[in-house]
């Protein structure tokens, strides 16, 4: 069974490929959805195509599946339309799967289940990374706003933070939003906000 993974994120594709190889599948190819990826895919004649549901290139792929004369057998999305739980899990995990006509669902199901598990695990790690990154940049912005206040209003660090916090509460905003506004204003006014 030839499996093609179309993915923009090299890391996610690798995580998925690794899992599939461990499970005994060895005809696996990764194509990023750029340039003439559709022509490459056509030449490979895959049995199963796995693609990130969030990829903007899904419409391009589906058009190719509709009009291609090179593919011997039609490819349709998911294999067992009656298995709603499976489809729901796949969509939640962000997996879309296209399977050639006639491939038995028992053969495809383990591949799909594995893709769902690996995609979910990857999304979790990604989410944690994003959260950490946001927290870090939020802290930098607040620190900068604090030092502007400390310099221009001769406040202690503690008082500067308290001022930001009460301004945020009064305006119903987040501290980071108030801090960002302060930095912008300071830049505009040439306050040399450090």
């Amino acid at each position: 069974m030839r499996i093609v993974i179309i993915d923009d994120s090299g890391l996610r594709a690798t995580v998925l490929e690794e899992g599939l190889r461990e499970a005994g599948y060895d005809d696996i190819h990764i194509i990023p959805p750029r340039g003439a990826f559709v022509a490459r895919l056509e030449r490979m004649a895959p049995d199963v195509v796995l693609m990130d549901l969030g990829s903007p290139s899904r419409d391009t792929l589906e058009e190719m599946l509709t009009v291609s004369r090179a593919l011997a057998r039609p490819i349709a999305m998911f294999v067992d339309q009656s298995d709603e739980a499976m489809i729901g899990a796949a969509i939640d995990a962000g997996v879309s799967a296209y399977v050639v006509d006639g491939l038995r669902k028992e053969r495809v199901k383990p591949v799909l289940e594995l893709a769902v598990r690996r995609f979910s695990a990857f999304a979790k790690i990604q989410g944690e990374l994003d959260e950490a990154r946001t927290a870090l940049s939020d802290r930098k912005i607040i620190d900068r706003a604090k030092s502007i206040l400390m310099n221009q209003r001769s406040l202690t660090e503690q008082d500067a933070y308290a001022l930001l916090r009460s301004a945020a509460m009064n305006q119903g905003k987040k501290i980071v939003e108030v801090s960002q506004a302060l930095i912008t204003a300071s830049d505009l006014l040439g306050g040399g906000g450090l």
Partner: protein, 404 residues
């Protein structure tokens, strides 16, 4: 009691009514907590609706018909009781290619037939078939582009290459030289113009003065099982649409849409379609097209069955579906004026008396039969003067073949 509703959308200016319903509190007034789910491809938006991950979706009208007819992956009966807008598309091409067309962009846009013939003549001089991006096989854009090309004898399946790509990738594809032009919903045409990559070649509103565009689509079964919720949502959308049409709100609306969680493009680009001030070539004075995108006036949201049938006629014309009476009836029934009437019965929204009309027959403003209030329909001509009679689809199509 608050009802949670999820609606999928794509980052496009014509998501305006949904965004305004949420952000300006129109949904909340009807007791609806609206969650808008951003999608980056029509395929994913479709899957989220068909497999029940969202309650409704901002859908290309032809895609709603195609899914119902089983032409786009898993067949599912969809129902569209409300049109989110009419018009809003723009065809742009690289400056190289546009050099073969009328240089005065205002005149070029005002004369789609002349421009189509200029385009047809230029194909022969071009070193290869022009590659034009469309956002989906079953998009209003693709159907309009085909209509426009065919008017000058260009066969859209043979003389050009139509490449499907999502609106958000159009500008990059043009920069990379993968496409020579594209037709998409705003603000993507304007983004390509602003980047100095392209010029406006045609705008949707001049191809069909009142072209059916995005609809609010539900799964038919869910729509039938939840009439009270559907009615509340439609009332909220009608209020939001009136707000969106009001020129005084366009600046605020553009700011709302510009946010990263919606369209994520500069407010300046977004406001062009809202105000109809279209910059057709970077740095030039805008060309005024006040009807570039409509949300509320002229009963814009009313889902005329004749418009679903016009879509069906175009699917037939391009051999995307086999003709029979049952299929035609199924396509027409995707649009649900009955639900629209029920939901907005006690509102001040003007209500057409009929559910079908001739499409393309109105030259100037026309006062028409209405159950309540004044209803004026705007000019809805096709640029080639053809009139679509939904009860004579075969005659209509025969007219095109003869004209080729």
């Amino acid at each position: 009691m608050t009802t949670d509703l999820k609606i999928a959308f794509l980052p496009l200016t014509d998501a305006a009514v949904l965004v305004a319903a949420r952000e300006q509190g129109f949904a909340a007034e009807e007791g609806i907590a609206l969650e808008l789910v951003r999608s980056t491809s029509w395929a994913t938006l479709r899957d989220r609706l068909v497999y029940g991950q969202v309650h409704a979706a901002q859908m290309l009208a032809p895609l709603a018909v195609a899914v119902t007819l089983g032409l786009s992956q898993q067949p599912a009966a969809l129902a569209a009781p409300y049109k989110l807008n009419v018009n809003g598309n723009m065809l742009v091409m690289t400056s190289d290619f546009a050099a073969a067309l009328e240089p005065d962009v205002a005149r070029r846009i005002a004369d789609p037939l002349g421009t189509a013939h200029d385009f047809a003549a230029a194909i022969g001089l071009w070193r290869r078939k022009p590659v034009i991006g469309v956002v989906h096989r079953f998009s209003s854009h693709s159907l309009m582009l085909r209509y426009w090309l065919a008017s000058a004898g260009v066969d859209p399946d043979k003389d050009v290459v139509l490449r499907v790509l999502p609106p958000s990738l159009t500008v990059e594809a043009m920069r990379a030289g993968e496409i020579d032009g594209f037709i998409a919903g705003e603000p993507w045409g304007s983004a390509a113009v602003e980047a100095g990559l392209a010029e406006t070649v045609a705008i949707g509103e001049r191809i069909w003065r009142r072209g059916v565009e995005k609809v609010l689509a539900f799964r038919e079964a869910w729509l039938e099982e939840n009439p009270a919720i559907v009615d509340r949502l439609l009332r909220a959308l009608a209020q939001a649409a009136a707000w969106c049409d009001d020129g005084g709100n366009h600046a605020a609306l553009a700011e709302l849409l510009a946010q990263p969680r919606y369209v994520d493009q500069p407010a300046d680009l977004i406001s062009r379609a809202l105000s109809g001030q279209m910059v057709a070539r970077a740095g030039e004075t805008p060309v005024a097209n006040p009807d570039f995108m409509l949300f509320s006036r002229e009963a814009t949201p009313f889902p005329w069955r004749s418009q679903a049938l016009w879509i069906y006629s175009q699917l037939l014309r391009w051999n995307m579906v086999e003709h029979d009476a049952a299929t035609a009836a199924k396509a027409g029934a995707v649009f649900r004026p009955d639900v629209y009437r029920r939901a907005l019965a006690n509102s001040d929204v003007a209500m057409p008396g009929a559910s079908m009309k001739l499409e393309g027959a109105v030259d100037l403003l026309l006062a028409v039969g209405s159950r309540r209030g004044e209803l004026t329909l705007g000019p809805d001509r096709f640029f080639d003067g053809q009139v679509f009679d939904p009860e004579r689809i075969e005659d209509y199509l025969a007219g095109f073949v003869a004209g080729r």
